[in-house]
Amino acid sequence: MTDAATQSAQARRPSMTIRMLQVLRDLVRRPSGLIGLFLVVMHVVVAIFSPWFVPYDFKALDSSLILAAPTPEHILGTDALGRDVLTRVLLGGREALWVCFLAIPLTMIWGGLVGVYLGLRGGWVDEIAMRIVDAFLALPGILPLMVLVFVFGAGNEVLIPTLAFFFGIPVIRVARGATHDVVARDYVLAARARGHSRASIMWRELLPNTLDVMMVEGAMRLSWMLLTFSSLSFLGFGVTPPTPDWGQMISEARVYMSLAPWGVLGPMIALSSLIIGVNLTADALAKTLGIDRTRKAVV
């Protein structure tokens, strides 16, 4: 009897894990999912372990090797200050990954919960909240981020909450739309008719059934957040030097592009492959879960 009891108590937990494993299995069966996941995992591994295997110190200056072409010692050459480009490329994704991987769960949680709540609540609360959401969506995307970074600096304690806040706004809209699709279903009507509380309906009926949409959305937002992060950094509103970052490296190396074109190639390939990896994964995830994100206008 005790066996049966523990079994039943745990019945729910394995089913969730099994589902996630199934999704992962279906994901790697698609070429795009496999390539995408490979790129993402590769970048994560490099980001975690690079400090232990980079060939040089990333801030070591060498005035004798300014803008040097690739040599066996410096495979990707050196930059305008004589620093080793390969070292800086290997280290250059750490900040972006760290910030975005922390900010995305925050984004999805706050945007998702607010959106699902509004979708269920409806009425004047929804009406007013959506006007505010509209107003934030009307702001020119990158500007509030630039202003905040300019005023408060580019520390992670500024970037993470700021990115999570502004990226969460469109998520509210998506979560609310997904909720509207679910709320109309009879099983939600049945739960309402039984008299379940709003919290219980959100937790039991709405969240499990909007999860797929939110996972795809999260993966998609992650690629845009990485794009935004590197754009900020490119524009000089990102990581503080001398910490290496791809966006910043591209911005610096561009100036000498006619003299030393190899300077831009390393960071460009690294950055693009990361974002493409995330995007391919998101795309494959959407196909696996049967969610067509493109049908809904991008916000």
Binding site: S8, R12, R192, A193, R194, G195
Partner: protein
Amino acid sequence: MSAPIIDIRDLSVGFTARAGHTQEVLKSVSVSVHAGETLGIVGESGSGKSTLALASMGYMKPGLRKLKGDVTFQGTDVFAQSLRQLEGLRGGKLGLIPQSSGQALTPTMRIGAQIIEALSLHCHLPASECVSRAEELLDQVRLPDVPAIMKRFPHELSGGQQQRVAIAMALAGEPDALVLDEPTTGLDVTTQKQILELVQDLARERNMAMMLVSHDLGVIARCCHRVAVMLYGEIVLEGPSENVLKTPDHAYAQKLIDAVPRIQKAPATPKPAKPNPPEALSLEGIGISYAQPSFWEKTFGKVKQDSLTVEGINLSLGKGETIGLVGESGSGKSTILKAIAGLMPAAKGTIRVGGDTMLKPTIDRRRPEELRRVQMIFQNPDDSLNPRHTVAEILAQPLHLYFGMTGQKARDRAADMLETVRLTPAYLDRLPRQMSGGEKQRVAIARAFAAEPEIVLCDEITSALDVSVQASVLELLAELKLSKQTSYVFVGHDLAVVQQLSDQVMVLRHGRVCEAGLVDEVYANPQSDYTKTLFDAVLEPGM
């Protein structure tokens, strides 16, 4: 006998499932239709009847392919035709009337343009004559105010009108044969009758061959000379309708025909007059408005008071009794259920349960104990069970909410409930997608009864199920009613089903009561004209 118009010989259709394994949808099917003859193809969902109908036009849904066999139309092999020749055939000599014309008419084209297109493709008429010919066709399918209809878009017409347009479109090519794919599914009974009459008249006038696919034996019986019964992609029985429908020579066909509920004109054994049971539910002067005031209307005081969708509903239901609400779409029968459940607040009137307790109009103002006493079962079991929850979790919800049961206790009780609806406890860990429609509906019934309700609201609960499944679900409901002394409010559009289960009946039209009374009396001797029309429109096999 002359050569058949459509002749299907030994046709197999299938798709590649996985790793080269071929799954057959049609297995060596042979049928033929002659001029002036109507062949009925009947079967339950998944029997391959629609695939057969489309294959007769040389068309297969993406993914399907022909494995073997031939389809000939007037002597020419359909599958050997070039695309160009097929285009000339389809909509020309061989017309299709689709299942739901609401979906099948192009939403962005006006009705006139769609018919003129068919005319110009197949009749090569000069443009000037097309318009008058199109109007003639619409007139032929008995549509009113033809010039206005020509200018409308499909969504501006009613379901019956859309179906008539589809028929006119098929007639544009002067067809020798028509394929009708569930032509009246989703239409109200009275409309269904008119459409079938129209099609039959046209077939007679033009001596057309018709292939009519339907799940409804009543429709088949009404129209067809010959019937083929399909099961899992095979024709298990074929012959003249008389023989097939009256004395079927096949176990499945027999079961299918027996499962069709029929109206009992004179009850063989009049139901014994029960001693007056205590009152379980009463509605007094219920009126419901569909127009829910929006935030803006509330704020700016623009609430419309004028139109009540449903008005003047009174009923009194005893313990263990059933009242059937019947009516066509838009009659407000489901709306009344929602008002009782509190999902749609009644604008006026009172709802009482157990003779004393007044129910507040909305759920959030009712106490849990009040909510427990009234439970609802929904039409479509695919939609009423949370796809992410196992049966155990689904059944645990009312148990936890009303009785505070959790863990093993709830699980044991859920297993008991499954047995009450004749499912084994093995179903506890299944997800809805791992069950058939009938099984899902049983789980939904178990969920409602888990609350130990006094009143169960049933919203068309068998209309999404196949006939044979429907029969067993109805049987289950009758049993539960007897053993638990529950009262049902049963909404249905099928008069026979309603009769089978109900003690009282209320006929609704446009949100008003047309007629109400004891089932035996109303069915034996309907008073209002509308009720009579409804009874007239009922189609039953063997009538």
